[in-house]
């Protein structure tokens, strides 16, 4: 705890120092040009940097090679979400489960346990799923919701464009450019369940440098009757520097530290759980540097380096255990995971009808965990990747999108993942899409190298064992899509039907282990089941006027699996539905409503009795903007409590209030 406070203090000091440096200079150098009322000839004749560069421009939905859902700032604020993960409830086919108050699983089409391993998640092009176990530790990301510009969710595999692990889908989070947040914002949130948050953000510009930093603290008590509270101390910094009109150098730093509640209370069935209540201390940070040269809106080259660091310190003593003569056994689940990645990317449009992106990257994932990996040494996993994606506008109405990625890694050696999509733009308002793509999921370090055992004197209980012979999981995904605009009815419609064939799913299966003298078994990772997933998804947007919006999503998902090792067929809800409505109300009030409904779902690793039921949830938000700020009240789940992820996690009604002040 004190270590975190110190780290945060240091971050705050560093930010304050940077702020002083920058603003001090800014005040000294400003004022001269603004005094004149003459226009500069240069405004007409001079050069300007490319602001909307190839990587910043998003593809219009009708031309995208895959089904895409965009969550913009209006939706983020209207949803009333306080946790990033909750936003994905708005995306058709996505499920969000709280394994605990601070541990969310976000998956597309099921197949998930506490880690959802089959999505690529990028924040400003930085891949954030953990190299240790796969999946994203959402509460540990150094990211404030207010700093997000938009989230693009690609529903379907796309390794050629988004890299390793873009197996079932991609979450692409784009933060705001430093220049968009000039001034100082102070935000405070307080509410039930111990919710207390405070943020300070300051942004500005000095000559060719735009900067923004955010510091914050968040805490809540998690679910009632569970030891799953979290305290998060957060600091992020982003600077965008333009040495000339073609080049941009972006630097980012972020930190998220603090304790999280873990473990289970004693129960009648298990009065002495070895995973008893304890604390996990998280120290998560990153540094990212990107140089980008934009020649024009179609041509751009960038080189990026980043480093992610995530350390979970988790050591505790079990209750007195009979099996070792009433002694307390020292448990330790410390894990340090790091990722270093260097990437080159080149966007070009050599002919009018062709656009290309190609690039290469190399990365090292490194995990240290004496308990989980059975060694005090850091284990490395190297991955090199070459990718190309081309888009050919055959005629104004026909668009062909082709891509492939070649991946070479330490675990499964060389793999190739191609994709092909054809879009037909029937007219201005209607378009069709057909695509087929293949993707792979390389095992993560734990699946490859696990060696998790507990020994009590002469007794050895072997729990998890890696498997060097694992093959990557593969998916072949076929989809048909339709996009329609009905301006007269203020409606837009997106429909996708799909069929995914997934082979060699990696799961932990019980196998004999002679060294284990307690039950003679361990759980080893193996390529077990196959799954075939088919379904249909739709999103509908109704916007009769700017201030009134209704966004609806529905997904039907049917998983067919051999279910030999794992009951994969029950891991996605058959039906899931979400609705977000925004409306300006009299008295300068802004109202919004989020409604979510899903069928029963099972998360891997839960025993049947623990599985969560179906859910229905209604969230309401009422905001009153005023000059220089906003006051908002959010009530989450005003209906009956439902089970999140497992039956102990009752998500009952809760509320919080937000006060935002923007100082110029």
């Amino acid at each position: 705890m004190s270590k975190n406070t110190r780290a945060l203090k240091m971050a705050v000091l560093a930010c304050a120092e940077i702020m002083l440096l920058i603003t001090g200079k800014a005040h000294a150098g400003n004022g001269k040009e603004t005094a004149t009322k003459w226009l500069s000839d240069e405004d007409f004749l001079g050069k300007m940097p490319v602001i909307l560069s190839a990587s910043r421009l998003s593809q219009p939905p009708a031309e995208a090679p895959a089904a895409t859902t965009v969550i913009d700032r209006d939706m983020i604020s209207a949803s009333g979400a306080r946790e990033l993960a909750d936003l994905f409830r708005l995306v058709p086919g996505f499920q969000v489960g709280y394994a605990s108050g601070h541990w969310q699983t976000v998956t597309y089409h099921g197949l998930a346990d506490t880690f959802a391993r089959r999505l690529q998640v990028l924040i400003d092009g930085r891949s954030v799923y953990t190299p240790a176990f796969g999946g994203v530790q959402w509460s540990d990301l150094p990211l404030a919701l207010d700093d997000i510009e938009r989230i693009e969710v690609i529903r379907g595999p796309n390794m050629a464009s988004y890299g390793a692990n873009a197996f079932q889908g991609v979450i692409n989070i784009i933060t705001r450019h430093a220049s968009q947040d000039a001034g100082t914002r102070i935000k405070a949130i307080a509410g039930s369940k111990g919710v207390a948050e405070g943020f300070l953000r300051h942004g500005g510009t000095n000559g060719n440098l735009d900067y923004r930093f955010t510091v914050g603290h968040r805490e809540d008590n998690g679910f009632d009757n569970r030891n799953d509270s979290k305290r998060v101390s957060l600091a992020t910094l982003r600077t965008d520097y333009r040495p000339n009109t073609n080049d941009t150098i972006m630097f980012q730093f972020g930190l998220n530290t603090g304790p999280r509640g873990m473990g289970e209370p004693p129960t009648q069935d298990n009065p002495t759980p070895t995973n008893n209540e304890h604390t996990r201390t998280v120290n998560s940070r990153y540094e990212q540097l990107r140089w980008q040269r934009s020649m024009n809106a179609g041509q751009e080259i960038s080189i990026q380096f980043f480093h992610n660091y995530h350390k979970a310190s988790e050591a505790w003593l079990t209750p007195p255990l009979k099996i070792i003569g009433g002694a307390q056994y020292p448990m330790n689940e410390d894990v340090t995971a790091q990722r270093y990645e260097l990437e080159l990317q080149h966007n070009l449009s050599p002919f009018e009808d062709w656009r290309f992106v190609w690039g290469a990257s190399t990365r090292v994932d490194q995990v240290t965990s004496p308990t989980f990996l059975g060694t005090t040494q850091a284990l490395n996993h190297r991955l090199h990747r070459l990718f190309v994606n081309g888009e050919w506008r055959i005629t104004p109405a026909w668009l062909l999108n082709m891509g492939a990625m070649l991946e070479k890694n330490d675990i499964t050696n060389t793999d190739i993942a191609p994709r092909l999509a054809l879009n037909y733009l029937i007219n201005e308002h209607h378009s069709l899409r057909a695509s087929v793509s293949k993707a792979l999921r390389t095992p993560v370090i734990y699946e490859d190298r696990a060696n998790y055992k507990a020994s009590f004197g002469p007794l050895l209980n072997h729990l998890y064992l890696g498997n060097k012979a694992l093959m990557p999981e593969t998916i072949v995904s076929r989809e048909l899509g339709y996009l329609g605009n009905f301006p007269a009815a203020y409606l837009s419609l997106d429909i996708k039907i799909f069929q995914d064939e997934i082979k060699s799913l990696i799961s932990a299966g019980q196998v004999p282990y002679p060294g284990d003298n307690i039950d003679g078994k361990t759980r080893q990772f193996l390529n077990g089941d196959n799954a075939s997933i088919r379904g249909a998804e739709t999103q509908i947007k109704y916007q009769p006027q700017k201030s009134t919006q209704v966004i609806l999503s529905y997904a039907y998902t049917d998983i067919n699996s051999s279910d030999y090792w794992i009951r994969y067929s029950t891991t996605a809800p058959a039906n899931s539905f979400s609705l977000l409505a925004m409306q300006n109300l009299p008295g300068n009030l802004r109202g919004s409503l989020g409604y979510y409904q899903t069928d029963k779902v099972y998360y891997i690793g839960m025993v049947t009795a623990e599985g969560a039921g179906a859910m229905k949830r209604l969230d309401l938000r009422l905001a009153r903007p005023f000059r220089g700020g906003e006051f908002a009240v959010v009530a989450q789940n005003v209906l009956n409590g439902y089970q999140e992820y497992r039956y102990q996690n009752i998500f009952d009604s809760r509320w919080y209030a937000t006060l935002t002040l923007d100082l110029q």
């Binding site: 226009l39 004749l45 909307l52 998003s58 968009q180 024009n296 449009s349 110029q664």
Partner: protein, 330 residues
Amino acid sequence: MSRFVINCVLGKTRLLLGLLLFVMPPAIASAANITVVANPQDDSHAELIEGMKAALARYPDNGFSISVVPLASLDNNSVRERDFLDADLIVTVGTAAAQQTAQLDSPALAKTPLLHALIPKINFDGITQRRRTEANPARDLSAIYLDQPLPRQVALLRLALPQYKRLGVVLGPASQTLLPGMENAAEKEGLRLYSRTARNESSLITTLNDVLAESNMILAIPDPLIFNRYTVQNLLLTTYRQKIPVIGFSQAYVRAGALMAVYSTPTQIGQQVAEALRLAATKSWKLPAPQYPHNYSITINYQVARSLGLRLPDEHDLLFRLQQADNPSL
């Protein structure tokens, strides 16, 4: 009122073109001396002078003798009086040259007509306003502006984005005066205009957001208080986030991320200077009225158009249609 002014300008343009095309101007007998004040190191200035010379050279009777006085020599007080004394007409290139030449108050120069080229209209108005309050009101003064007339810009919007009817504009303290002209131009093209004035740079984005709430396209207006690298970046990012197209006023603006712009190159303005010189030479150096560029180009950022889901016509096609709308006699 301002429509009347605009029509007058257009009327004169037509007349001028008519003169050039159909009335053979009398041959220029003796050599005419033109002194050009410019910054030869500035690429746009060099380009303008080249364009002017090339246009003059196309006539067989080219009797113009051009001498270029570097702007820097005015700063150094090392003005060669002779360059100016011999001049039948002085052409300045750019705002700085216009400002400094206008201040040359040698009595010997007081009668030499001055043609300011490559100057934004606001700046030219500033200079003439200042002159009126000063000594020498009699001098013949004219200009070929650097910026485009509002009706032309609005006509481009209507041609390129016929389905868009709500035009948003953010004005600044200096560009506020454009509002009546803007209202007229919008009305003529059947558009609804939503305009707000930002008082300073820091209120630009708030003001822009107010405008964006009402409109579905933005016409960017240059204003010294609200236009700079920083605000352009912010404006482009904010409008793009709302998927609202911005119509810029320069080639660079479009490269940066505006959807399109109508603009004139220094070469095109140089050609127009040549035309004005030839006309003035036949009228005992009586200058034509200040005028907007006749020749212009269109640039479209197709990548941005595409990302906004807009299908725009070909640049040449659009330019042709704009020229027709701008000047039906062509």
